[in-house]
């Protein structure tokens, strides 16, 4: 693959890499006919991000002859590529070439004053990882200018790991999330709420409280703010992944995060949180067995159209939508009988790969599982 970006596009590209660096330690470059995708997954496989730049984003975009349906995905260390895109003030043009025979990516920066910087990075070939996420089956969809979400999360300290997003047809609120009941006195609780009017699009099919990792989202929010793009949020009940996405004419960016399973959600009996290690639980059923299930709106809920009169759009199909007819996910091998971050398992593109990818990291709160007084979100009252 050979592509050329000019000045401002280089800065956007750099910002995308910076956002992806918040997710994982490795960056995958996936040149496709529909554009160049940059992806990253965290080690626990609980967060996934993808930035897809369409060919129009580039001054020039050519796939080599070896790239057909079987594309070469290059895996690079984030720490090798991120520093290259730090100081872009004098960069006028950037050329990226993926040279499969010698496993090298050549990134050339053509800067002011005739100065040229050339970087030859080694890459590993890897199978393409994508998260299949059926956003059109999500009962809840929010869309707001990036600034609105940015201003909400700004109130949480940078060290805040997880936050809980609670939605009812009347209110959207964000609060910080802490595990364990022992440190009540030391924690500062922050909660803020927004009225549905603040959103460009507001559809709540299922009242829910989802808890996810804020740190991994910040990168996308900052990217969206710098490009003044609205952010769409697709989600369902606790335990199901949440997807944040932005798009414009020439690029799309998505972050998919797993959420904590909520034992107290109305649709499950209120008992001690358990997780069945080997059988599929709700968290794994991102795409349900019967296609119509998730789309059913429980009695008492209603779809609230946007107050701005935006049409109820079919939630934008994510660029990641593949293999919808194969709705199964594998449960993470080491789930514990406690609240745990569900892992998404990614489908490899090449058919000869195994059924599932091993998850490398276990949940860190396994040890506290037994005594844990799970600080779960209050069930919303209807």
């Amino acid at each position: 693959m050979n592509c050329v970006l000019e000045g401002n596009a280089v800065k956007a590209f750099g910002k995308a890499i910076h956002s992806l660096s918040r997710i994982g330690d490795e960056l995958c470059l996936d040149p496709m006919s529909k554009g160049l995708a940059l992806r990253s997954v965290n080690s626990a496989h609980s967060a996934y991000a993808c930035f897809l730049f369409s060919p129009m984003f580039f001054q020039k975009y050519n796939l080599g002859p070896e790239q057909g349906s079987e594309t070469v995905q290059c895996k690079l260390l984030m720490k090798s590529i991120l520093p290259l895109f730090r100081c872009l003030a004098t960069v006028e043009r950037c050329q990226i070439q993926i040279n499969t025979p010698n496993d090298r990516v050549k990134i050339q920066f053509f800067c002011r004053h005739g100065i040229t910087k050339t970087h030859d990075l080694c890459f590993e070939e890897s199978e393409a990882l994508q998260a299949a996420f059926a956003s059109h089956l999500c009962p809840n969809v929010l869309k707001a200018p990036a600034r609105v979400l940015g201003e909400m999360v700004m109130h949480f300290p940078v060290s805040q790991e997880e936050i809980t997003l609670s939605v009812t047809p009347l209110r959207v609120s964000l609060r910080n999330y802490f595990e364990g009941g022992n440190d009540h006195m030391k924690i500062m609780y922050t909660e803020m709420s927004l009225h549905p009017d603040e959103f460009d699009y507001f559809q709540i099919g299922v009242e829910s409280n989802i808890t996810f990792c804020l740190k991994e989202l910040r990168g996308l929010l900052s990217f969206a703010e710098s490009h003044c793009l609205p952010v769409s949020v697709h989600f369902g009940a606790a335990g199901k992944p949440v997807c944040f996405s932005v798009e414009d004419m020439i690029l799309e960016a998505t972050v998919v995060l797993s959420t904590l399973i909520d034992s107290e959600s109305p649709s499950q009996p209120a008992e001690t949180l358990t997780v069945a290690p080997r059988t599929p639980t709700r968290c794994a059923d991102v795409v349900p067995e019967s296609p119509g299930e998730a789309a059913t709106v429980p009695a008492g809920m209603e779809l609230v159209a946007s107050s701005q009169g935006s049409p109820i759009e079919d939630p934008a199909l994510l660029l990641l939508l593949h293999h919808l007819s194969e709705p199964h996910y594998q449960e993470r091998a080491n789930s514990t009988p406690a609240s745990s971050i569900c892992s998404l398992l990614f489908r490899a593109k090449s058919p000869e790969s195994g059924e599932g990818l091993p998850v490398l990291a276990c949940c860190s709160d396994e040890e506290e599982a037994e005594e844990e007084d799970v600080m779960m979100m209050r069930s919303p009252t209807l």
């Binding site: 690079l76 260390l77 720490k79 090798s80 590529i81 520093p83 290259l84 730090r86 100081c87 004098t90 090298r104 004053h113 005739g114 100065i115 040229t116 910087k117 050339t118 970087h119 030859d120 990075l121 080694c122």
Partner: protein, 279 residues
């Protein structure tokens, strides 16, 4: 200035007296060569030369001409001593190194000769501090035998363009390779790190290139650890000249403007790591 009201009798005994209204004009330039504790001071009627060396492979010199000083008196042709540079810098900054405009530390540096300490009188806001730093027998600095007649390649660049490159250099590379040539790539800095190679090319007609005189294609490698300290001098400078001689020895000369706009020079000499054939 209070420091100059010392009695005439005192002044008689010093072989070297150098005064500055603003001690930063000395301390800033010394910071550019502080990669080792000890420095060799060599004073002549022309001015002060301070030398720091590392393992006989790297040498840095800072030159402060006599004209920079408000007072510069030397009673011998050459006065030399060695002091701990870190201690000297601490003393020069004893008043906290405030950068508020109009506030500066005045310095009077005095030396009585062999066996005597270096005496510093520092004044700021009416408060005077006297520091006496022990001196040692000066070592003979290595003579790199770098002479202009032996120079094969020389370029002068505006520091701004090199500063960016040096700040981005891949530190996992053990060496910095410098290629100078009358043909492409003209002037190239290369690193070979864990994640791959990087090359920074400066064409001879770049407007950052003030002088380009390359007679022969040469590629030399220098240990990154040796050249790293030179980035301090680069940061202070506005221009830098890069020269290599027929043996591959490297001379970096930095033009530094001090707080008052006066010019001082810092130079670095470095031995090549090994003979390298053309890549």
């Amino acid at each position: 200035m209070p420091l100059s009201t010392q009695s005439q009798g005192d002044a008689e005994q010093y072989v070297l007296v150098a005064s500055l209204d603003n001690a930063r004009n000395l301390s800033n330039i010394l910071k550019a060569i502080t990669f080792k504790d000890h420095a060799i001071f060599s004073a002549t009627p022309n001015g002060l030369k301070v030398t720091v060396e590392d393992s006989k492979c790297l040498q840095a010199n800072a030159f402060i001409q006599s004209e920079i000083f408000q007072e510069y008196t030397i009673k011998e042709d050459s006065v030399g001593f060695q002091v701990n540079l870190t201690v000297l810098l601490d003393c020069l900054n004893i008043f906290g190194g405030s950068t508020a405009p109009g506030v500066s530390t005045a310095l009077r540096m005095c030396y009585k000769g062999y066996g005597y300490p270096l005496t510093l009188f520092l004044e700021e806001g009416g408060v005077v501090t006297v520091c006496k730093i022990n001196t040692e027998e000066p070592e003979e600095p290595v003579d790199f035998e770098f002479c202009s007649t032996n120079v094969t390649n020389k370029v002068i660049l505006q520091s701004e363009s090199l500063k960016e490159a040096f700040s981005e250099l891949d530190m996992t590379s053990e060496v910095l390779q410098i290629t100078m040539s009358p043909s492409q790539p003209y002037f190239r800095l290369s690193t070979f790190g864990n994640s791959g190679n990087a090359h920074y090319d400066y064409p001879k007609d770049s407007d950052m290139m003030e002088l380009f005189k390359c007679t022969k294609t040469q590629t030399n490698r220098y240990k990154m650890s040796l050249l790293k300290p030179s980035t301090k001098a680069l940061a202070l400078s506005c221009k830098v000249s890069v020269r290599t001689d027929s043996r591959g020895f490297l001379s970096l000369q930095y033009l530094v403007r001090n707080d008052d706009g006066q010019i001082c020079f810092v130079e670095y000499y470095c031995c090549p790591d090994e003979e390298v054939a053309e890549d």
